[in-house]
Each structure stands twice: as C-alpha cells, then as structure tokens.
C-alpha cells in the first residue's frame, strides 16, 4: 500500500513523487513513455537548447559588428544534425538526472500505462498497485482541430506538431505555423533565425492573446522586422497537402510551406478515468484550491487540470498537492505565476496586465522604461525592449510586471519574489540594483511609478 501514487512523470508528477518521498511518504510514480514528460523531452528543454543554437548563429552573423573578422557568411552552414544531437544530449542528461533523483529519494518507478481501476488501485502491466492517495499528472497533448485536409497532411508528414518540429531531418526552407501562442512564437523565432521563411497564421488581431497587449504588439512588430510573415485575422479553411487555405479580410488566400506546424492549443489527457468518477470538462480535471478533485484523496496537477500550461506551475502544484496530502492546507496564488516566451528578445511577465488591472477596478499607475536608455543594454548591443510596471496607487503595491528584454526570463523572478512579499514600487526603487545591468530598468520603472526615473 502506497501513501501516494503519481500517474504521469512530467514536471508535475516527478516533482510530486520526489517531494512526497522527501516528506517520508511511500511513493510510486507511473510513466508510460519518458520520465520528464513533455517538458523535458519535447517541450521546455529541447526548444531552449535549439533556441540557444539559433542565438549563437545570429551572433556569428553579427561578428563584424563585434569586431571579429574572418567569417565568410556564405560558407556558414547550419548543421541541424549536430544541433539535434546537442539537444538530445541535454535532454538525456536531465532525464537521467531526474531518474537518479527518483531513485535516491526512494520513489518506486513503474514504466507503463497506468490504468485507473478505482481511486485506490492503479494497474501497470501485470502489477496491481494500491494507494491511499492518488495524484493525476497525465499532462496534455496538442489539439488537432477538425480542419478539412489537416489529418491527411499530417499523415503525409507535412503537417506536424511541436514534437515533430523537434525531430525534423532538416531545416525547412518554408514553414507555415498555425496559431500565434507561445509555442508558435518560439518556433517562429527559432526557424526564422535559422533561415526558414516563416509564415504565422493567427486567428485574432494579434499574437499572444494572454500577454499584455503592448508587449505582444512590440514583439509582433519586431518579428515582422526580422522577416517573419504574420497574418492576423486569419480564418483557417482547408489544408491541401502543403497548402493552407484561409480567409483574410473576406478574401481567400493561401500559404504553403515545406512543413506546416500545427500549434493551436493543447488538450488534457483525461482518457480512461471514468471509473474514478472524476469531474472534468474540455479544459481539464476540476480541482479545488487544494488541488483535490471531486473525489476525496485524488488530486490533479499540471496541464491536466487545465489552469495554465506551464512547467513551473505543474511542479509547484505537485509540491502543493503533496503538502496537502501531508495535512498542510497549502494553496497557490495563481496571480503570481510568471510566464515566459523565449523569443529574441525574450518576454516575461507576472501578475496582471494593464487591461486586467483596470478591469478589476484598481486605481492604477503604469510606469515604463526602455532598454535603449540602459547602459548594459547598449554595451551588449541588445537595446530592444522595455519594462512595464503596473501598481495600485494607494500603497504602490505591484500588480504586474512585464518585461521585453534579451534576458527577460532571468529578470522576472525579481518581480515574482517582490509580489510574493506584497512588495511596493517603493521597495523596488529603494533596492540598489547593480550597475551596469539590465535589471536597472526595473528599478528605474519603479522610480517612475513613484515620481520620475533618473535616466529618462
């Protein structure tokens, strides 16, 4: 009899299993495919490894500017195979690391599909496992909408999902990306930087609908400047092999690509749980503030509960669920979950957008500061972007921070921790930020929210 069985070995599940073991529980983890889930194997990590390669390529192309001579641009060649090998090595090392951690912490790992018999019984192959608590962490998979011809194109290997894009044999000459969410934007960045002619088709009027409008539009403009073709207000009609037929401004237009990347959202893996009597909808399994489902002692964490699709949130939910199993009443403040986009430059945000804060009725002060007025940004030759702080007026409490900058994803944690402690713009302004760093823009924007920034 286990204290906890976790089904699904992604960043939600494996973290939950390790945490449970660390708290002294007898824990098992069931995974049907690869330990590490989407995140380590076909998500966060492989994409970031490839993006790094693309970034290095872009820097090499700018060698002259940085005073490095002797690079024959015409002789440069993308060795996609080597890029893939490096990516695979990184993934392998991390997956092995996680396996080691599971072992070290004494988690029993069962490889195979977990079949949900009842809330206390999980069957894996010929093993019947019994448990007091169950954590469902089965994750998500791409949604493939019912567009005429799309399945056929996928069967022919022309239309692909993000997983397929990570396993291509070569860098495609032309690629059409369906969808304008985070994953689409990251792949557009990647392939555009590697020389692919990318066309991104977006249903609504701009990319990145969950991102603060000002940042999303700034990035959209920058992507276009960098050569990505972005078609907004575009209704998909039909796919004919390598051709996507759609309607834009009332006219039928078509775009073709060697590959068509389908990135139109993801759906929860909820199949096979009928026997548990768990309540779920299209978005995912319903949970309460403590991540417990309608069935007592059964929890659902990560992508499968449909809140957000973020690996760090999956992990945090894993820890939280386990703490609740241990009797603590632990919950997550979903207003303080950061999200990142690894475009060039990066976007990172936490808290409310300007629009959300106004909608919620806050008396809002908005302060912005551009990278172009920051010494480090100029010294690095990376001066595109800005920071935007949204605070409420009475105390100056920070409600949201949005950053567009080359290292935005490393910078946002300052904002997360500040907001975790209900920090105000006064605190951030008073904290001496080192010079010269990009993080000074956060301090300057905080000054601007109180009074005036110095350098603008």
């Amino acid at each position: 009899m286990y204290d906890v069985i976790v089904v699904g070995g992604g960043p939600g599940g494996y973290v939950a299993a390790i945490k449970a073991a660390q708290l002294g529980m007898k824990a098992a983890l069931v995974e049907k495919d690869e330990i590490g889930g989407v995140c380590l194997n076909w998500g966060c990590i492989p994409t970031k490894a490839l993006l790094k390669n693309a970034r290095v390529y872009q820097e090499i192309l700018k060698g002259d500017f940085f005073g490095i001579e002797g690079i024959e641009k015409n002789n440069l060649k993308i060795n996609w195979e080597q890029m893939g090998n490096r990516k695979d090595m990184v993934v392998k090392r991390l997956v092995n690391g996680v396996k080691g951690l599971l072992k070290k912490n004494g988690v029993d790992v069962f490889m195979g599909t977990g079949i949900f018999k009842d809330k206390e019984t999980i069957v894996v192959g010929d093993k019947i496992l019994k448990t007091k608590h169950l954590i469902i962490a089965t994750g998500s998979r791409p949604s493939i909408p019912n567009i005429e011809g799309l399945y056929l194109s996928m069967e022919k290997g022309i239309a692909i999902t993000s997983k397929g894009a990570l396993q291509l044999n070569a860098v495609p000459k032309r690629m059409v990306i369906l969808g304008g969410g985070v994953i689409s934007v990251e792949f557009a960045t990647l392939f555009n930087a590697l020389g692919t002619k990318v066309t991104l088709l977006q249903r609504s009027s701009r990319i990145l609908k969950d991102t603060d409008e000002e940042l999303a539009l700034a990035l959209q403009k920058h992507l276009i400047d960098q050569g990505v073709q972005i078609i907004t207000n575009c209704q998909l009609k039909k796919v004919e092999e390598d051709k996507v037929i759609c309607q834009v401004d009332g006219k039928e237009v078509n775009y073709s690509g060697e590959k068509i990347l389908v990135s139109l959202g993801r759906q929860p893996n909820v199949e096979g749980m009928e026997s548990l009597g768990i309540v779920y909808d299209k978005k995912g399994i319903k949970v309460d503030a403590y991540l417990e489902t309608n069935v007592p002692n059964v929890y659902a964490i990560g992508d499968v509960n449909g809140k957000y699709q973020l690996a760090h949130l999956a992990s945090a939910e894993g820890i939280t669920a386990v703490e609740n199993i241990a009797g603590k009443k632990s919950s997550i403040n979903y207003k303080l979950v950061p999200s990142c986009i690894y475009s060039f430059p990066e976007l990172a945000a936490v808290g409310m957008t300007e629009a959300e804060a106004k909608e919620e009725g806050y008396d809002v002060v908005v302060s912005k500061f551009p990278l172009s007025a920051n010494g480090k940004a100029l010294a690095e030759g990376e001066s595109i972007g800005f920071v935007k702080i949204i605070a409420e007026k009475q105390y100056g409490e920070i409600l949201g921070v949005h950053i567009m900058a080359v290292h935005a994803t490393d910078m946002i944690s300052e904002a997360v921790v500040s907001m975790e402690m209900e920090g105000t713009v006064h605190d951030v302004a008073k904290a001496i930020h080192p010079h010269p760093t990009l993080s000074e823009i956060v301090m300057e924007a905080a000054h601007g929210a109180i009074d005036k920034p110095i350098h603008y």
Binding site: Y395, E397, E420, M421, E422, G423, T424, H426, D427
Partner: protein, 60 residues
C-alpha cells in the same frame, strides 16, 4: 511562582501589511501571519481590522 519570559519576536510583515496596519491602527505584534514563514500579509491585517475589538484587562 514561575516567571514567563516572552521572547521578543521580530515581526515579519509585508510592506503593504505594515502600511495597512498603520492606517487601520492594527498592532502588528498581535497578528499571527499566514504568509510564508509566518509573515503577516495584508489579508491578515484586514481580517484583524474587521474582527470585533476585544477588551483586554491587563494586570499590573
């Protein structure tokens, strides 16, 4: 007779909680924080301000 030595604990409170406590006349040292590590959060101050005042008699 036993003498009770109450250790003078430092109050961990968020910046907003401190200001709000000041504005609402709540004594921070009387609040049990619900934040990480027992930190007093603004919600704790609001709850304390809404609680009916209890009259305490102090023996000298």
């Amino acid at each position: 007779q036993e003498t009770v030595v109450t250790e003078k604990r430092k109050v961990l409170a968020t910046p907003v909680a401190r200001k709000m406590a000041h504005d609402l006349g709540v004594d921070l040292t009387t609040i049990r924080g619900t934040g990480p590590g027992g930190r007093v959060m603004k919600a704790d101050i609001r709850a304390a301000a809404e609680r009916p005042q209890t009259i305490t008699t102090v023996d000298s």
